[in-house]
Symmetry: C2
Subunit: 140 residues, 2 copies
């Protein structure tokens, strides 16, 4: 398996862990260190595994159903760090109703024995008034 495939597998496991609404599945994805950093859409910066875990617990507690279709993932591996940027097409049912949103995500993984573990997750809402008219230029 190439590094790129292994990182994509880790990224896939992360989104399946969110869908599972299961704390243990989520914990298995992260490095579980004080370097873990998470920025949920609209949230401030959460730092350290304890705060990151608490945020997932709060999200899972308020959610009954969540599904992601991840599109346009691009992987960039440099040494023992890998970065994935992708679009999350999210459908969720929870305490505050039904949500259907598109989120732009940056996920950073670090290489550990036996795989790649998440060190940073940053998600931000995509506003479609902007996304329908992106700046012109070369797409890579």
């Amino acid at each position: 398996m190439t590094d790129r495939d292994a990182v994509l597998a880790a990224n896939h496991a992360f989104y399946r862990a969110i869908e599972s609404l299961d704390e243990a599945a989520m914990a298995a994805c992260w490095s579980r260190s004080i370097s873990d950093t998470c920025i949920h859409p609209g949230w401030p910066i959460l730092r350290g595994w304890a705060d990151v875990l608490a945020s997932w617990r709060a999200i899972f507690d308020g959610t009954t159903y969540m599904r992601f279709v991840v599109s346009d993932p691009v992987v960039d591996v440099l040494g023992d760090v890998a970065q994935v940027t992708c679009l999350e097409n999210l459908y969720a049912i929870g305490q505050s109703g039904t949500a259907h949103a598109q989120v732009a995500a940056t996920n950073v993984y670090v290489r550990v024995e036996g795989g790649w573990r998440m060190r940073l997750h940053h998600g931000s809402p995509v506003h479609h008034a902007v996304s329908e008219d992106p700046p012109a230029g070369e797409a890579s």
Copy 2:
């Protein structure tokens, strides 16, 4: 100068480049490769230096004044990759009026001869209804 200090200097130069509204100053901060990635608040993912540059040009063209007070920066260096997360306290005057916003940012830099160059910038608006009540837990 330690790696951490050099990365903080690069991060400082990036925000001064935005404030300068000057394309050349911004270009000097980036790796200027097809791996460059930028997600402005509310925007979709822009990939490749050409698209990233076009976005800064559009922002600079629509802005007459912009100042950042960057708070709470945390640097994480792993090999030739460095990650900074920080809060941007932004005050801007432009075509669409005056904006005062708080943005959570992830900035990724890569080591090059003579310094660190930006490879990814991801900014997302912080909604204060959420930030006033973050999940409980250990702060790192």
